[in-house]
């Protein structure tokens, strides 16, 4: 009896649930609102932007890094062009100097094409008729032979100038002509009277292609260039010096010292250190430049002491680095300061009281209470700022442009110059992408390293409360 009751109750519940689905019709908005995929729907717009502006660019960087794309190759497909340099390459790379010699020639062939073109251009019919009758199908290896033959005609051109014009119609060459496909260039060479083996065909295609191809040459080149090493050392020096001195170090000093101040002055000092961050970067750097110019603040101040006015910013590599690190550090410190200050605020005041009661001086409080509690924020700032310093080059671009003499050229700046903007206008997209790819890899590796170093697992360990 009892069982039946329970079953019938369950039955009713089931019926009630089924009944709900035949209830009032929901409109599409309500359906989305009730869907278990609601989260996905809400994320969709962000997802599209992430895809467009992050995932696809990163993937394309990965792909482009393995190509030789440049302004010369274009980014779409290329054409086939036999010219001086590709024929040189045919000799050098494929050991086919003889073939190159053959193709490189200009010959004069009396053929129907030439006759038709000449007729259409208004050359006298009699001349062309005689030329056809006597020389059709004949080839001359150079212009002089062809001219000599034509001079012997009864209906020859009236003067030397007309002769030269006529000869031009029979000039045949594959050099310096763009062909849109492999078939066209091969047909042209064949028509030129050179027959090619399959091997030779492949070699011709290889050297005459003007578009981009996949290759790992970028990385070989990166390793072999001495500039790479210098840029790498510059980058590491810049990132870690700025990070340790300012983005973490000075930020900690600011956060801790304002913690021990009264609320009013503390707020004032924090706001002051935020100003560089809210100043437009172009103006911010411009002010540094004014400070450092030969007619600028530093020179004016030092003038009465007998110091020659000079451009302090670009005067020497040491000065340039000092300015670069100050420019970046003054901006960078504010973020760490904010994060660290709020983390210190989050420490319960009872912990500070307890440590005072336990006999801790301020220095001991900082060492034993504040710093250990800031482990996670410090990890965060270190990770975040390493990555942002690695990839930031706007202040370099605005201040030193990598100078003097490339002494402040860092990896991101060099990538930008190589790929997107340089004096010669020869942009190497492929090589630039390869350089950028290295930055991505370094960033990922550093992040993993930091997580290990700061013992991330124990920071986020689940409590074992009994």
């Amino acid at each position: 009896m009892v069982n039946t009751t329970i079953e019938s109750t369950t039955d009713q519940v089931v019926k009630a649930r089924i009944g709900r689905s035949t209830g009032p019709q929901l409109n599409w908005l309500q359906k989305i609102g009730n869907s278990k995929y609601l989260g996905l729907y809400l994320l969709a717009p962000a997802g599209i932007f992430v895809l467009l502006f992050f995932v696809i660019p990163v993937l394309l960087t990965g792909v482009f890094g393995f190509t030789n794309m440049s302004t010369a190759t274009g980014i779409t497909g290329g054409a086939y062009l036999a010219n001086q340099s590709s024929m040189q390459a045919l000799g050098d790379r494929h050991d086919m100097a003889a073939l190159a010699e053959q193709i490189n020639q200009v010959v004069y062939t009396i053929d129907e094409t030439g006759l038709t073109t000449a007729r259409e251009a208004g050359i006298s019919a009699a001349t062309l008729m005689e030329l056809r009758a006597k020389f059709l199908g004949q080839s001359f290896d150079n212009r002089r032979d062809a001219e000599r033959a034509i001079k012997k005609l009864n209906n020859r051109p009236a003067n030397t100038r007309a002769l030269k014009v006529l000869v031009k119609y029979f000039e045949r060459s594959v050099i310096n002509t763009r062909y849109d496909s492999k078939a066209e260039i091969l047909a042209a060479i064949d028509g030129f009277g050179v027959s090619l083996t399959p091997e030779q065909q492949a070699a011709i295609i290889d050297v005459t292609y003007t578009g981009w191809v996949f290759s790992t040459n970028n990385f070989k080149r990166m390793i072999s260039l001495p500039d790479t090493k210098k840029t790498l050392i510059n980058t590491l020096f810049f990132v870690f010096t700025t990070l340790i001195l300012f983005n973490v170090g000075f930020a900690l000093v600011l956060a801790v010292s304002t913690h021990y101040m009264d609320a009013g002055p503390a707020g004032f000092f924090r706001s002051v250190w935020l100003l560089p961050r809210i100043t437009p970067p172009v103006l911010y750097v411009l002010m540094w430049k004014w400070l450092a110019w030969d007619t600028g603040f530093i020179s004016i101040i030092l003038g009465p002491f007998g110091v020659e006015p000079k451009n302090w910013l670009l005067d020497s590599p040491t000065n340039a680095w000092t300015f670069i690190i100050l420019i970046n550090g003054m901006v960078g410190a504010s973020m760490g300061m904010l994060i660290f200050s709020s983390a210190i605020k989050a420490i319960p005041s009872s912990l500070f009281y307890a440590s005072e009661v336990d006999g801790a001086t301020r220095a001991q409080q900082i060492r034993h209470i504040i710093l250990p509690q800031l482990r996670f924020p410090i990890l965060f700032i270190t990770c975040y700022q390493t990555l942002s310093l690695l990839t930031s080059f706007e202040y370099f671009l605005l201040a030193t442009e990598g100078g003097p003499g490339g002494s402040t050229e860092v990896w991101a700046l060099s990538t930008y110059f190589k790929a997107l903007n340089n004096y010669a206008g020869a942009l190497e997209y492929g090589y630039g992408a390869a350089l950028a790819l290295v930055l991505v890899v370094v960033g990922v590796v550093l992040s993993i390293l930091y997580l290990k170093l700061f013992d991330f697992k124990t920071l986020t360990a689940a409590p074992k409360i009994e």
Partner: protein, 352 residues
């Protein structure tokens, strides 16, 4: 060590929290500062340990004036309401922290931490972090940290407020046991009268920054100086009735019941409007002067049952009775007041 507050004054900005308080805690005594929130009891505690600087008066530990001694040098042990354990340190390092700051040797620290851990029964937990401990265990660690360097005084700020009911009962006797074992002078800040009465040698009850009465728990319960003290102590609380004294009796205004009062007192206060306090245990069936009213509320507390009896004018008398009581809500009952136990207060709430 004796603690003495002399004319102690504390202000926050323009607001005077405590104005000229005097308090003496004898050597080896445990005293409770009891009062509602905002009465200044925690402020007093923080002033004793030096976290708050005083705005006037002096503080002595023994004969030593510590008014201007920093917290760090005052040698007090404090247990905070939230325990304030250092979350990034193990239990062992938490307890050893005050010793480490004093630059004691690692061996000494280990030995002392071991001893104190044994005393508060947490030997097995030394390698854990606070986040891995229950509330009661955290409480014991906090106590051990406060005691490890043998402080002159032990200060406890609502130490049981964050614990559940069973643990509170257990820790109550534990703290008292440890205080007895160490013989330390202790100050307990609490808003819970049961805690104050069960744990301490004396209670200082505070209201609006003043000590209203300071005496032993039993004495304070039986002889409160004011209706505030009488109302604060006792659970369920005391019930008050107001009326006039006429011819040696208190006249209950709605039922006109005459309740006999102490002869001398009634004579000298004849005709005066007073309020009388009747504790629930002194309002029982078959007990002295009978008052009749309707049972308006019944609350079973297991062993005992609490009855609210409403008089015709809406005033409530409370009665707490053991098993065997059968009154129901709505019943009219006629229970008696144990007249000699009545507490009489004047219009200002002062005990007469």
């Amino acid at each position: 060590m004796r603690i003495l507050l002399e004319n102690f004054t504390k202000k926050f900005g323009d607001l005077t929290i405590i104005d000229g308080m005097d308090l003496e805690v004898h050597d080896g005594e445990m005293i409770a500062l009891l009062g509602g929130s905002g009465c200044g009891k925690s402020t007093t505690l923080f002033a004793i340990c030096g976290i708050h600087k005083v705005n006037g008066g002096r503080i002595f530990f023994g004969d030593h004036d510590v008014t201007n001694v920093t917290t760090q040098e005052r040698n007090v042990g404090v247990v905070f309401q939230s325990f304030a354990l250092y979350p990034h340190m193990t239990v062992e390092n938490n307890i050893g922290f005050p010793l480490k700051l004093r630059k004691e040797s690692t061996g000494d620290i280990k030995r002392k931490v071991g001893e104190i851990a044994e005393m508060v029964h947490i030997e097995a937990l030394l390698q854990r972090r606070p986040g891995e401990l229950s509330g009661g265990q955290q409480q014991r660690v906090a106590l051990a940290r406060a005691l490890v360097r043998r402080p002159d005084v032990l200060l406890l700020d609502e130490p049981l407020a964050n614990l559940d009911a069973t643990l509170r009962l257990e820790m109550r006797s534990e703290i008292r046991r440890i205080q007895h074992e160490t013989g330390i002078t202790a100050v307990l800040v609490t808003h819970d009268q049961t805690e104050a009465m069960s744990m301490c040698d004396r209670i200082a009850i505070m209201d609006a920054g003043k000590i209203v009465q300071i005496t032993e728990p039993k004495d304070m319960y039986d002889n409160p100086v004011s209706d505030f003290v009488a109302g604060f102590l006792g659970s369920p609380p005391i019930a008050f009735l107001s009326g006039k004294i006429e011819d040696g009796h208190f006249i209950e205004p709605s039922t006109k019941t005459k309740i006999p009062l102490d002869h001398e007192m009634a004579k000298s206060n004849n005709g005066r409007t007073v309020s009388i306090g009747i504790r629930p245990e002194y309002f029982q069936p078959n007990n002295g002067t009978a008052v009749s009213g309707k049972v308006s509320f019944i609350e079973s507390q297991g062993r005992e049952t609490l009855y609210n009896v409403m008089l015709p004018d809406g005033k409530i008398l409370r009665s707490i009775q053991g098993e065997g009581s059968v009154a129901k809500i709505g019943d009219t009952v006629e229970w008696g007041i144990n007249a000699p136990k009545i507490l009489v207060f004047d219009e200002d709430g002062k005990r007469i």
